[in-house]
């Protein structure tokens, strides 16, 4: 007894077989009456042809009924599973279910979610497989586990034999599965197919991809197409099962990080939170609940958030003690909850150490700089300046400094330059002020080095900026740059009151290379560059081509910026923030990424205890650090939930130490836009697959356990139609020359 893929269609379609009989009966009822004279000939004809006509008509009726039955059967897809069927097809079936458990599958609507739908489909497939007579095998693999397969991990079920009670076991196993917080896409899951046991010669393998088919995961289908083509070529069938429904309202916190500013205990730090609206409609008065170290802060409110747009808001936090601090931002519940929360760990030192190298023994420039950065008294900037001579650079480690300033430095030794370059390359900030002691040849030859050195431009020499009584424009024209953005829009900025008398001119015809990172961020009244920045390694360099101190020199006064003008203090603090920013990278880690901790074994024992979020000690894992070259590394491979992970270390002296890491979900995974089946067909053109909605899977997968007769039925149908056409032609009226009528 064959099974059917679409058995319900069979019950709908089979009554259609009676259609020709029905049409015949209707025609009989509709016959017309003719009073006929020449009955004699008609009766003679009827007597002569009655048998052949009846035979042809019965045969025709039968063929037409057969044709309809063939169409119905073909659509219902009968499958023979007996030994005859096995001669044509496979006798065992291996169902491979790739279950999407990325957090977009938590999309909720009505009383269900995409993940629940996927689990229901899996349960139905398992129950159907259990009912089959032929051997059935079942493999279940979650997307989030797929990547681990390559590292020797195991699927949730691997080629498990389907026997009596399997459906119950499967249901229980599915009940224990929860949505992960990863953004695992179908790539890894499809690639994992290669790690499954090879398909046997008489095995029928079917791969079901139970997913939500979000646009973000199918933007670039090249890799997917490649993986699916491999599956196809391996002789397995591919069924894509869409378990999600429509687009629902979803907001997500897509970023939470410190904005510019000094990281120091007791100094207010500005944080930035970005919320994105992935839903189809605008949202008003979006409230972001903020906490620092578990203490609630005033909520950040976004008045309106149009669909598809992001909004960034800043809020201050104040940490009075040094160390790692946690900041979290949270939104109200919506279709996808996982992306409504985001955490950040902020490293707050006691103070930000800054080194000021002054070339003048009087250190007048350093004085003004250090005063601007650390005014003293009741005001704390969190910056701790250290004024030294150039030799400090080669004699001391510079790692502890966030920023180094060179003020009026005439020249540096090569070792000092090397130390300085290494410092900046590693992410340190370098601010350079010139002055009467600075020598252009040294800067050009040693620091600029044709664009390869620290200094961003070649210098010509000290130049006077003539006073123009007629020109009322300010001496400094600041560009659109974070250092000067605080002055933007101020009509009577103190910056406008700065008078610059003298500066170092750039070499004639010098202009920044558009391809390089060199940018002029402020110019003088005569359009000569005054402040120039460049990226050097991971760090930043800003050069101010005038003197920091507003004092008289042998060349005369250079400027009056630092004298009684508050804009100097503001600009220097902003410059310090800007230069120090690379020292505080946004260490955002995504769920699913391994947590690798570099361990200094001279200070710590080589064991690390990783505690996952939720302070559930039961979930903690102790990992032995492994040697990786000269360093030691402790790795936590599985980070499946978002939040703050703790790495608990033990110092050599036995005292504990904790490092915290914030793990957040992928910002894009909350984008619930779906790829349409037609788009999918376009992107997967040339690939054989079937696309289903989760609710549409009413078919019984038993059909795939045997030989599907659809194709044979198609040929049979063609044969029946051919014979029917021939017979219909033979039995129908065709004009022929008339005899005896003239």
């Amino acid at each position: 007894m064959p099974g059917f893929v679409y058995e319900s269609l069979l019950w709908w379609g089979l009554p259609l077989v009676a259609l020709p009989v029905l049409i015949h009966l209707i025609n009989l009822m509709r016959h017309r009456r003719v009073h006929w004279a020449a009955m004699e000939f008609l009766l003679a004809s009827q007597k002569r042809h009655q048998k052949s006509i009846l035979f042809k008509q019965w045969l025709l009726l039968l063929l037409r009924m057969l044709a309809i039955a063939a169409v119905v059967l073909m659509v219902a897809q009968p499958v023979v599973r007996n030994r005859w069927g096995a001669m044509f097809g496979s006798s065992t079936t291996h169902h491979v279910l790739l279950l999407d458990d990325s957090f977009s599958m938590s999309d909720r609507w009505a009383d269900t979610s995409a993940f629940n739908e996927a689990k229901r489909v899996a349960a139905r497939l398992g129950a159907s497989a259990e009912r089959q007579d032929s051997p059935q095998f079942f493999t279940l693999l979650r997307f989030s586990r797929a990547a681990q397969l390559a590292r020797g991990g195991r699927p949730d079920m691997l080629a498990e034999s389907v026997d009596a009670g399997f459906a119950a076991r499967l249901e229980k196993a599915l009940g224990g599965l929860n949505i992960s917080e990863t953004a695992a896409g179908p790539d890894d899951a499809l690639a994992a197919f290669d790690h499954l046991p090879a398909k046997g010669p008489d095995e029928n393998r079917i791969v079901y991809l139970l997913s939500d088919f979000r646009t973000s995961q199918w933007q670039d289908p090249a890799a997917l197409l490649k993986a699916m083509s491999r599956i196809d070529q391996a002789g397995a069938q591919i069924h894509l099962v869409d378990c999600a429904e429509g687009i629902h309202q979803n907001l997500a916190v897509v970023a939470l990080k410190p904005a510019s500013g000094t990281h120091a205990a007791g100094v207010p730090l500005t944080m930035e939170v970005t919320v994105r609206n992935f839903g189809p409609g605008a949202k008003e008065r979006v409230s972001v609940v903020v906490e620092d170290d578990g203490h609630p802060r005033p909520a950040v409110v976004i008045e309106e958030l149009p669909p598809g747009k992001s909004a960034t808001r800043r809020f201050p936090v104040l940490f009075t003690s040094a160390g790692q601090h946690e900041v979290t931002a949270r939104l109200e519940s919506d279709a996808v909850d996982v992306d409504n929360r985001r955490s950040a760990v902020v490293d707050i030192p006691l103070a930000a150490d800054v080194l000021i190298i002054d070339g003048d023994a009087k250190a007048r420039d350093a004085y003004f700089l250090s005063t601007a950065l650390a005014p003293g008294g009741k005001i704390t900037s969190g910056i701790k300046p250290l004024i030294e001579t150039p030799s400090y650079l080669r004699n001391h480690a510079l790692d502890g400094f966030e920023t180094i300033y060179l003020a009026n430095v005439p020249r540096l030794e090569d070792a000092e330059i090397d130390a300085l370059e290494a410092f900046v390359k590693a992410g340190g900030g370098l601010g350079i002020f010139l002055g009467e002691l600075a020598r252009a040849p040294f800067y050009n030859d040693k620091l600029y080095r044709n664009g390869e050195g620290l200094f961003p431009l070649p210098l010509a020499g000290p130049t006077e900026l003539p006073v123009d009584r007629l020109d009322k424009s300010p001496d400094i024209e600041a560009g659109d740059h974070p250092i000067f953005s605080v002055f933007a829009g101020e009509r009577n900025s103190f910056l406008n009151l700065v008078v610059v008398n003298r500066y170092f001119a750039a070499e004639r015809n010098w202009a920044p290379d558009p391809e390089s990172s060199v940018k002029v961020i402020a110019r003088l009244r005569n359009k000569a560059p005054l402040a120039i920045e460049q990226q050097f390694g991971h760090g930043r360099v800003v050069a101010i081509l005038t003197k920091a101190a507003p004092v008289e020199t042998e060349l005369g006064s250079w400027n009056n910026w630092a004298r009684d003008n508050p804009s100097f203090v503001v600009a220097m603090l902003e410059m310090q923030s800007y230069l120090a920013a690379p020292r505080h990278p946004d260490a955002a880690k995504l769920v699913g990424m391994a947590l690798a901790l570099d361990l200094d074994t001279s200070k710590f024992l080589p064991q690390v205890r990783f505690v996952p979020p939720g302070d559930d000690a039961g979930g903690s894992v102790t990992v032995d650090a492994t040697a990786d070259g000269s360093a030691h590394k402790a790795v936590l491979a599985d980070t499946l939930t978002s939040g703050i992970y703790q790495a608990q270390l033990t110092r050599i002296d036995g005292s504990p130490s904790v490092e915290r890491f914030a793990y957040n979900v992928s910002a894009d995974e909350g984008d619930l836009r779906k790829i349409e089946p037609t788009q999918m067909a376009g992107r997967l053109s040339g690939l054989r697959y079937e696309f289903h909605r989760s609710g549409d899977i009413t078919y019984n997968p038993q059909q795939l356990a045997g030989f599907n007769l659809s194709e044979s039925l198609l040929y049979a149908l063609l044969g029946v139609l051919l014979v029917e056409s021939g017979l219909a032609y033979a039995a129908s009226y065709h004009p022929r020359p008339l005899r005896g009528t003239k």
Partner: protein, 299 residues
Amino acid sequence: MPASKRFLRPEAIARIARLDLRARLVVEGFLSGIHRSPRFGQSVEFLQHRQYAPGDDLRHVDWKVWAKQDRYYVKQFEEDTNLRATLLVDVSGSMRYGSGEMDKYEYGATLAACLAYLLLRQQDAVGLVSFDESIRVKVPQRTKRGHLEAIVQGLAAGEPREKTDLFGILRGAAEAYPRRGLMVLISDLLVNRDGLFKGLKLLRQQGHDVVVFHVLDDEELEFSFSGPTRFEGLELDERLSCNPRALRDGYLDALGQYLDEVRIGCSRDSIDYVLFRTSQPLEAPLSAFLSYRQAARRS
């Protein structure tokens, strides 16, 4: 509708009038020549002049007119004949069938009326026998012009009825008109063939010249029905539900055999046979037949 208008419709009269002009010579020639009249050429009444056309007999040229007008005219004469024609018209139930404008009965009756009109115009004696399974109306042979009305009335009186028994009719006609004459049978001949041929043979044996005008409908000849149809016999009490297309070939074969049989039977007894389709204009087959008769006479 009066019977005279029914069977001598204006359009039919117009057609016949044209037919008259065109076939006059032929009709008069063949009808007058059918019988060896002992008064042939003796009783001639001048009718009209006609312009000479090549082929006209020079004996008929009016030389007086030529002398006066220098034009050739031939004199035409109205000739008395002694032809006695009997129109045997089938009015049985089978003649009621018709798929076109006229059924077979109407067509046959019109044909009979036209013939009577033509014969009476040349002062031949025309009689009528309308019949089904028995003789319904018998109109004696007369030569008077007013006799046409009686013929037409006779045609009208014979409403189609019942079954045809042709042998009895023809035998009755042979007995009723023992003098030799022209017997014109107008029927669909859907009868027993033995009776038909026996009857016709009887007429021939009595010295009658017999002409059979076989009237059939287009559908009877072509049988182009389609779709489920229930045929109910007009004379036979038979019913048949069928797909006509399936039976068409057999039907046409049987019909062809029947027509062949009739043609052969007629020619065997030297009976002129003409098949009329009810869709054909009357004059076309009539003039074809008249031409044929003329040619036969010449030979």
